[in-house]
Symmetry: C2
Subunit: 210 residues, 2 copies
DNA sequence: CGCTTCTTTACCGTAACGCGAAAAAGTCAG
DNA sequence: CTGACTTTTTCGCGTTACGGTAAAGAAGCG
């Protein structure tokens, strides 16, 4: 059996590390971080500005980042945060620890699990919204990919960002397809004895080759 | 502690609802719930026994479940929890609200994002562990599917459980495939150029306002 | 004999999230 | 000019989630 229950020490504080990761790119203010977590990480992590600022304070207290005030005319002064060498080291150290596989944790699955105890109509509506959502995301990732990495390759420093987009793409596609399947199944349920023939999975060998 | 009916916004407390969903199947004790959340929901949701018990207490206080003590000989007495009509109604009501699409939130992606600031070797090791993990899960779902739904169909009440397994399957497959891709990419990175002089900071991005 | 299983509960912490509010400067539309 | 909105940061209220440590008490296993 695979055992991923080692002992990740100080554990889960990934939001702070996500911020550190963002700051490896360039120094940023809390406002910038909050606006777009840069358009890669922000897809997987969302956090409002209060959260960001609170985390920034903690990171500064730990000496992982350093704030430099930039006086602006016409706007409030801003605090541009830069990684300190300690912050860099902390990030490296954190990144060297094994990650914990995230669980799916989707409440939709809970609803489906109790399918015979809930109303199917709102569920179907919900699933359709979800389908749209995942399709949107998929298209967004595709656009980003073809814009930032038109030939499918990346310079060494950006390989990780490419991979991030690729996993997002794969995930959204898989879930969107599943949504279609689920909607169909629910429709078949509510329309009664009508049974659409389901194609067994072994025969559906869909390879997307572009 | 007075007001929990005024804010029916999108789903917050899902752990409690997951427990309610479990209890629609059959009455269970906290211990049973903690052991295996039944082998469908437990894959997507993991919670230790303290969490479960705490949640059970809350649910009982709300009148959503009802505990019935069963005296046992040879074992401690147990509390078998049953859904009350109020609990059923609450579950139905909760399930009728739109769900919030869960974000991915995987710290591995953060590590990858900051790829040029971290060590690749532990990352590659981590990815290989992850690959194994997702393959395990995939195989597990496959086994469960062929055991519980050998012909790929389910009685109406179990359609949701089938769908849950199917999305798990699709997800694990997609992520496992991505892991392979990522491992390959990282290997190419580390075996490749020994740091040819690449892009120092010659390009200071000018802010729109200085 | 000690160890594990069974079953529940308690109290400790803190990370994460969310909501509402507020400063103090400027821009821009009506 | 007024009102609304942007920019940027911060405070403080709350709840949910989760993690650890530990205590019970009886049974069964080796």
């Amino acid at each position: 059996m695979s055992n991923y229950n080692e002992k990740p020490e100080a554990g889960v504080l990934a939001l702070g590390d996500a911020i550190l990761a963002c700051l490896t790119e360039r120094p940023m203010t809390g406002y910038e971080l909050a606006k777009t977590f840069d358009n890669s990480i922000g897809f997987f992590w969302k956090a409002d500005h209060q959260q960001i600022y609170r985390e920034l304070t903690k990171l500064r207290d730990r000496g992982h980042i350093q704030g430099r005030e930039v006086v602006q005319s016409g706007k409030p002064n801003k605090l541009v945060y830069t990684l300190t060498p300690e912050g860099r080291a902390a990030l490296r150290h954190w990144a060297a620890r094994p990650s914990v596989p995230a669980s799916i944790k989707d409440d939709l699955l809970v609803r489906l699990y109790a399918l015979d105890s809930v109303d199917i109509e709102p569920l179907r509506t919900d699933l359709m919204a979800r389908l749209e959502h995942h399709r949107d995301r998929f298209a967004r990732y595709e656009r980003l990919l073809s814009k930032r990495f038109p030939d499918g390759t990346a310079p060494p420093a950006d390989v990780g960002k490419l991979l991030g987009l690729r996993v997002g793409l794969a995930h959204e596609r898989a879930v969107a397809e599943w949504c279609e399947e689920a909607i169909e199944a629910l429709s078949a349920l509510s329309s009664g004895a009508e049974r659409t023939n389901v194609v067994p999975i072994e025969d559906v060998k869909r390879e997307t080759n572009s």
